[in-house]
Each structure stands twice: as C-alpha cells, then as structure tokens.
C-alpha cells in the first residue's frame, strides 16, 4: 500500500563529499517490500521547491521501523533535504514502484550487482536480501573519484566487492565495464542501477543473461498518473511504453529501449 506519511528524521550523516545518508522512522517501513523501490519526498512545506523528489530506499529495518536513503545533495531540493536534522519531519510518499526481484535466483547461485554513483544505494538492501537467501553477491561499484565513494566496507561485508573510479583515485581505474571484462561470467542473474549508458553497456555485454535494471526519469506524480516518466519499449514486451514510477523503476533487461 502506498502511504503519505510525515516521517521523522532519526539520523542525517554526510558519508562522502556531498553524499548523505538519511534515516527516517515511520509506519510506512512496514510496507516496503522489495529492494529497489523508492520514495517520493517533499523537501519543504513551502511552495518552492514544489515537486517531490524520488529517492531509492537503500536499507530497511522493519523491527525499528527505520529505513535509510543515500543521496547526493546537488540541486535545490536535495540540498534542502540535507539540512534536515534529527527530529524534523519529512513528508514521504511511498513505497513506490517495483524493485529488484529476488525470486529469480536461487540459494547457492551467484548474483552480479553493478552500481554507478548514486545508483549504488538500492543495491545495498538488494545484496542483504540475496545474502539472507543464500545467494552469493559480487559487487562492482563505480564512482567518479575517491571522495564520493561510499559504503565500501558495508558491501565488502556482504561479499566480493570491486570499487572502480573514473580517475583511478581509489580501487580500479576506469568504468565498471573495465572490471567486468576481467571477471568470470558464472553469475545467474545480474542487477544494476546507475546512469543509462552504464545500463545499456551491461545489456550489450550480457545479451544472454537474465538481468534487472533500474531506470531514472524526471517525475511528476510518482504513482503512474501523469505520464511524465514514460520510456519507450522494445519488442520484448507488448506494452507500447512503460512508466518508470509505477511499472519500474526496475525492468528486465531489454524491455526499455536504451
């Protein structure tokens, strides 16, 4: 069920340059089912900035009713969000969309998780769930440079982890694909979230593999009503188009025309 809820800030923490981890508490956490779902946040009660911001859920704790998001404070909205302090309220609409399916892989199999920049966060909850299930995750995480790398330790605790930076200031130098080329492709399913060029590179690299990709698009409503976030589709689906907010953000590889 989608709820609109005033959730309380439990913690706000800068974890890399301009990258923040925000922890909120509220009933909505009980409805958060899949890794890869997102929430639509109002960052201010005022009329400017007006629209909600979509941010992925990066980890869920049903026991404490807390969930975390990781985001880059960049434009007006995310900058205002980064100024929220413990005790402040945030208007959260969620959970929204369809996340990464974990029933497509079985215990004992290997999953490849590829994240780029601010696409990394939803992979964290995904990896935790896969590990719980007995799946072995391999993480390949790309960032611009050392100062914006986050959650390296957290991912390492869950499994094999490769960090890649464009400028080589940390981990491997280059793009995630440079590392992927050096890895065995004995994984059952791949999961990815990040910039569209990265997603399409993965599709080209693993045409035979089952893969699930999380897309981004500018949003209005966030719930499927306004047709803002529509993507063109390929022949793989009967639908003429898909909406990132309500049909996605995660789609099977090959469905969205990239």
């Amino acid at each position: 069920m989608i709820r609109q809820e005033q959730m309380q800030v439990v913690n706000q923490q800068q974890i890399a340059t301009n990258i923040f981890e925000l922890t909120l508490i509220g009933q909505q956490v009980l409805d958060m089912k899949q890794p890869g779902q997102f929430v639509h946040l109002r960052v201010s009660d005022q009329m400017e900035p007006l629209l909600r911001r979509p941010i992925s859920i990066s980890s869920i704790d049903k026991e404490t009713l807390e969930f975390k998001m990781i985001y880059r404070a960049d434009g007006r909205g995310t900058t205002l969000l980064s100024e929220k302090k413990p005790g402040d309220q945030v208007d959260v609409l969620g959970p929204l969309g369809n996340g990464f399916p974990i029933d497509k892989i079985e215990a004992g199999q290997t999953a490849l998780l590829v994240g780029g920049g601010i696409g990394v966060p939803p992979l964290y909850e995904l990896s935790k769930r896969l590990v719980e299930k007995g799946v072995k995750p391999v993480h390949v995480l790309g960032f611009q440079s050392k100062d914006v790398v986050f959650y390296e330790r957290e991912f390492r605790q869950l499994g094999e982890t490769y960090i890649v930076t464009v400028d080589g200031s940390h981990g491997h130098k280059g793009f995630v694909t440079n590392v992927l080329e050096t890895l065995k492709d004995d994984f059952a399913v791949y999961y990815s979230c990040g910039p569209t060029p990265m997603l399409s590179a993965l599709e080209r690299m693993y045409p035979e593999k089952e893969g699930y990709l999380s897309f981004e698009e500018r949003m209005g409503c966030g719930i499927g009503a306004c047709f803002a976030c529509v993507c063109e589709t390929t022949k793989k689906t009967e639908a003429d188009y898909v909406k990132v907010c309500s049909d996605g953000p995660v789609f099977e590889s090959g469905v969205v025309r990239v």
Binding site: Q4, G220, C221, G222, I223, F227, A228, V230, C231, D240
Partner: protein, 304 residues
C-alpha cells in the same frame, strides 16, 4: 441539503472540487489512495481519436512555485478509453468530464460524438488550449473565429453539455470566451498552462525535450484568477476555474472570482490527497466566512 453541491450544465456536483485533466490519468492510480466517489467530478486525461505516445522525455521540469510539462497528450486513444477506462470508472459515483483533443476539427468531432455517449461521461471539455502539440491544441484556442467554429461543430454532435478549455496565452481572453459562448458552449474551463521554458544552466539546453512546456502550479494562480474574474464579467455561462489551486483559500478565491467549481492539477503531484482534503476543509471554511452554501460564494467579488 448539501451545502457543497453545485449544479452545472450536465453536472450535478456533490462538491465543487475535481482533479484537472492530465493530472489524474483515468483515476486508477488515485483510486488506490482514496475513494473516487468523494470527488465532485473527474476530468480525465485528454483523449484523441488514435493512440498517442506523446513527446520524448524529459517531459517535466520544476520552476519557481510551478512546473513545466510537455506530455504531448499521450493517451490510449478513443477506443481503449471507451472500452477500458470509462467502464472501469463506472464503479464510482462520480461524473466524468471527458477532455477531448485532436489535430483537425474532424478529430474533435469524432471523439466528442463517441465519448459523449459513455454512460458516465456527463460533460465534455474541449481542449483547445494544449500548448504541447505541434498542430491543433492551442491554435484552436487563440483565434476566436476558429474557436467558435470548433465549438459549434462539437456541440452539434455531442450528447452531453460541452465546456471549452481556454488558453491563457492570448491577448484577449474575453474575446475567446465570448466566441465559444456564441458557438454554443455550455460552460468554460480555464486556464490551461502558460507557455514557458527552463534551461539546463550547465549546457544551455532546454530541459524539456519538446523545448517549450506548459507552466502550471501556484506560480500561475494570479494569472488564472485574473482571467476567471474577467471572463466572468463577459459571459453568462458557468466557469470551472483552475490554475495553481492547492489550498482551501485558493478554492475560495476562485469561487469569489466567479468560478462555479474548481479543478486541481499540479497540486495532486505535491499532495496526492489534496482533492479529498480540500473537500473536507470546505464546510469549515464556509462557516468561517459566514456562507451557508458554495453557490452563495460564487462570484462574490463581483458583488462587492
């Protein structure tokens, strides 16, 4: 007696609040959040003869206290709307206002003729003001002669009353309003969006793939109120007002300016419960202002 009730041509509204076209799809998504029967009416997404896939993305951009959109009238087309969307909406006790769009006059006539026969469609809203399609749309809405002609043609074939949706992107909105009244319109809905742009400051490129988009939201409220106020002086058919409504005070202001009912667009994205919330707040606000019914409030600014 229901103090919120409003009687308009074709529409017995239990309250004067309805979602604006294009901001509520065909209701399915919001139906998961609340009971659509609470609404005064629903203005469904523009319907065209054929299926339309709309414009490339990005289709929306935020602006100060507003947003731009260039959806491009994406919709499943007349047949699917008649077969899937409207029948599904029949489970709710709410009149539907079908937003009709097209490229040629024949398109409008074709859609209007069919869709006006759906049992729950109680009125049509002729979208002669969409700024986001290359042909049709806004061109019909900026020339009084063409607007009148189109209104007349649609009026002839429609089995329900027709409301014409006016564009704010004109020098003289009263002229267009009077033209559609002369053409036989039963009512007016206004305003559609103002044409605007946003640039990506880094690259200098327009953010909206369609280059320009329609500006909506609180930013345009002063323009909408001014136009409603003016048109109310110049026509005798009722007006459904819209443009930046998000609070109960906005509702009151539009009614005061001369609108008989109020539609809510962009605010649905900010607060998906805005329509039922406004409906709930209205009686108390009437009390506070000392009005017994909504109808008493309509056009009060003209009587001061």
């Amino acid at each position: 007696m229901n103090r919120l009730a409003v009687e308009l041509p074709g529409l017995s509204l239990k309250n004067p609040i309805m979602p604006a076209s294009g901001c509520f799809g065909f209701g399915k998504e919001y139906a998961k959040l609340y009971n659509l029967s609470k609404l005064g009416a629903i203005m469904i997404k523009a319907t065209t003869l054929e299926t339309r896939l709309g414009n490339p993305t990005p289709r929306v951009a935020e602006t100060p206290a507003g947003m731009l959109n260039a959806i491009g009238l994406q919709n499943p087309g007349l047949t699917k709307v008649m077969e899937n969307e409207l029948p599904w909406l029949e489970q709710y006790d709410v009149p539907i206002i079908a937003n009709v769009a097209g490229t040629l006059m024949e398109d409008y006539v074709g859609v209007a003729k069919s869709i006006s026969q759906a049992p729950n469609v109680h009125a049509l809203e002729l979208n002669i003001s969409c700024p986001n399609v290359k042909q049709g749309g806004i061109t019909f809405g900026t020339d009084p002669v063409v607007a009148e002609e189109l209104t007349r043609a649609v009026k002839e074939v429609s089995s329900v009353p027709i409301y014409v949706k006016l564009s704010p992107n004109v020098t003289n909105v009263n002229e267009i309003a009077k033209a559609v009244e002369a053409g036989g319109a039963d009512g007016i809905t206004m305003i559609n969006t103002l044409l605007g742009m946003r640039f990506d400051t880094k690259t200098g490129r327009p953010v909206i793939a369609n280059v320009t988009g329609g500006l909506s939201g609180p930013a345009i409220k002063p323009v909408a109120l001014r136009m409603v106020y003016e048109v109310a002086k110049h026509v005798s058919i009722p007006i459904i007002g819209m443009g930046g409504v998000s609070t109960i005070d906005d509702v009151i202001d539009f009614l005061s300016a001369g609108a008989s009912a109020v539609a809510v667009g962009t605010a649905n994205f900010v607060d998906p419960f805005v329509c039922p919330n406004l409906i709930e707040q209205l009686p108390e606000k009437l009390d506070e202002l000392g009005f017994e019914t909504v109808s008493e409030l309509v056009g009060r600014s003209h009587r001061l």
